[in-house]
């Protein structure tokens, strides 16, 4: 296309900067993973070395796997995260559409009301939430977690999505209306595909705290059947922990699934972003 004038020197500099930053970003993760495969002595003697035949050890993983049903935990985390994201995106986009599309009495007020939740950590409402779950019989179910995460993820989802939906061209929607499309179809068929990058952003944004949360699984669903991966691996990171093999292995096992999930998601995310740009 038009941009042939890019100086190869500038490109090389950009690569250099990006490579340096990539190393900074990945270094701590690699340290954890590398050392999780080493014997305790080797971890301390030379933390930067790769495991070799002498220092290689899976003892940490053995300890961790003995302690709990990691695949079950993973399944729980997965269900909770995907379930919550689905409802956050669906309900959030619907509400954002109502706020950005229609003028009605109390619109601004409703926007502020829905944004309030960004400003207070939901952890403060713990006791009342727990009482609600006890009353509805949802304690120790994954549904309880999905409900809480949906509620806590909505404010930021609505905030970002309504921002993006305001930018969707009005001509397009009016054209749809002239063609006799219902408001629902305008929302689902015209607007939603256009804000895909925003949806992907919101999904990534919300996925992280949900996957990594320790507090609500601990309070609302700490039974063996409903334990999430983060809660399950927490057993190794207490105050009296000295078994670094187990800690590092536990952490590695908590990192890997998220990384894989993210790498899968990442392709979708970028596809979403670029398709939005080409509109």
């Amino acid at each position: 296309m038009q941009r042939v004038k890019h100086n190869p020197l500038n490109l090389a500099l950009a690569h250099l900067a990006l490579i340096i930053y990539t190393i900074i970003a990945l270094f701590p993760v690699l340290i954890i993973i590398i050392n999780s495969f080493k014997t305790r002595k080797a971890i301390f003697r030379d933390p930067l070395a790769l495991p070799n035949s002498e220092t290689f050890s899976l003892i940490g993983y053995e300890t961790v796997l003995k302690q709990g049903d990691y695949f079950g935990y993973f399944q729980n985390s997965f269900i909770v995260t995907v379930g919550s994201l689905f409802f956050i995106l669906l309900f959030g986009a619907m509400a954002a559409f109502a706020l950005s599309e229609y003028r009605f009495k109390g619109n601004t007020l409703m926007g502020l009301y829905l944004a309030l939740g960004i400003m207070i950590p939901i952890r403060l409402g713990t006791v009342a939430i727990l009482q609600f779950m006890v009353a509805t019989g949802l304690v120790n179910t994954l549904t309880a977690l999905i409900l809480v995460y949906t509620a806590s993820g909505l404010p930021i989802a609505i905030f970002i999505l309504s921002e993006f939906m305001r930018q969707v061209s009005a001509d397009l929607k009016d054209a749809g209306r002239i063609d006799g499309l219902s408001e629902y179809r305008i929302f689902f068929q015209l607007v939603l595909p256009l804000v895909r990058p925003a949806l992907a952003t919101v999904a990534v944004f919300n996925m992280i705290p949900i996957w990594n949360d320790l507090w609500f699984p601990l309070i609302l669903a700490n039974s063996e059947e409903t334990k999430t991966l983060t809660l399950g691996s927490q057993v190794f990171i207490g105050q009296f922990v000295t078994d670094w093999n187990a800690v590092l292995s536990g952490l590695s096992m908590a990192i890997l699934p998220v990384m894989i999930l993210y790498i899968i998601f990442s392709k979708q995310l970028i596809r979403g972003i670029t398709s939005g740009a080409v509109k």
Binding site: L114, A151, G276
Partner: protein, 307 residues
């Protein structure tokens, strides 16, 4: 919009809003409201008694409380300043480099740089404690390799460096967010706009400052306000690295750790939900003030640049 369709649309508003409002009200607003209400009460012999603004008077009048609160607020502010000065510029710079069409391996860089963002505080805290540990020798060893060993300090254990170190760890973790948002914004700039600029001889760095930057300002605005809200709610990273006591000597105390320690208690110190709620209320007001300034002064102004 034509008048005859209007009554129909009223129902749609309700349908679109209802699920979000219901879930959000039941599980967020009501519980939080119930908690914040406690700020106006006091526990007298296991009974909640209404005392008006007494807890706030204690919070600001009793030096034991007020010093802790102001220290927290000050540290939150410093935390925010570092994020604005380091995290967001780095994020924008990386996004700008990634948006250069001729650049290869984009997907690799983008994925790698975002990885810290998807990790839990527990992992981030643990990893950095290891790296910066004076015992493990990773940081001192690396500094030694470039002949700067004398610069090494037990940063996380020194009052004067601990908070800044944690802020930089947080920057490391979250650079991915401004990078992604700005990257998306840069990609959505229509080619015609840039081409028009090129015809006028605006290219390269100049194009970035003169054309692209004004166009991505709304995204920078969203990032700033999200950073603000996140930083003034900061808690988890300090908690996992320095504990609920915000060591050393409370130098990493943020409003979140003070609130958590007060509300839920700590070791042998029992929780005080009333004072804890008063602190939470103040956090809420500080954040509300920031968001209001953004919504009414900054965002309205920025709208003009939209295309």
């Amino acid at each position: 919009m034509t008048t005859e369709t209007r009554p129909k649309r009223r129902w749609q508003i309700l349908v679109f809003l209802a699920p979000a409002v219901l879930v959000y009200t039941a599980l967020m607003i009501l519980p939080l409201f119930g908690t914040l209400k406690l700020a106006l009460y006091e526990n007298v012999n296991e009974q909640q008694v209404f005392v008006g603004f007494k807890n706030f008077a204690t919070l600001f009048g009793d030096p034991n409380w007020s010093e802790a609160f102001w220290r927290g607020l000050k540290n939150n502010t410093w935390f925010f300043i570092i994020h604005m000065l380091v995290q967001n510029p780095i994020g924008v710079a990386i996004a700008a480099m990634l948006s250069v069409p001729a650049l290869r391996f984009k997907a690799f860089y983008r994925t790698a740089i975002f990885i810290p963002t998807i990790m839990s505080f527990v992992i981030v805290g643990f990893a950095w404690k290891l790296i910066l540990s004076p015992l493990w020798g990773i940081a001192p060893g690396l500094l030694d390799a470039v002949g700067l060993k004398h610069l090494f300090q037990p940063w996380l254990g020194k009052e004067e460096y601990a908070l800044t170190t944690i802020a930089l760890i947080s920057v490391w973790q979250y650079v991915g967010i401004p990078m992604m948002l700005i990257y998306a914004a840069l990609l959505s700039i229509p080619d015609e706009v840039l081409e028009a600029g090129e015809i006028d001889g605006i290219t390269g760095m100049k194009a970035f400052w003169k054309i692209k930057l004004p166009l991505i300002l709304p995204s920078i605005g969203i990032i700033s306000i999200l950073t603000f809200v996140g930083n003034f709610n900061a808690f988890d990273l300090v908690y996992t690295i320095e504990g609920a006591m915000a060591a050393p000597n409370f130098s990493t105390e943020v409003m979140g750790t003070l609130m958590f320690r007060t509300f839920f208690g700590h070791q042998t110190q029992p929780g005080d939900p009333n004072m804890g709620s008063a602190i939470a209320m103040m956090m809420f007001l500080v954040i509300l003030a920031g968001v209001t300034i953004y919504l009414f002064f900054i965002q309205t102004r920025m709208r003009r640049y939209q295309f």
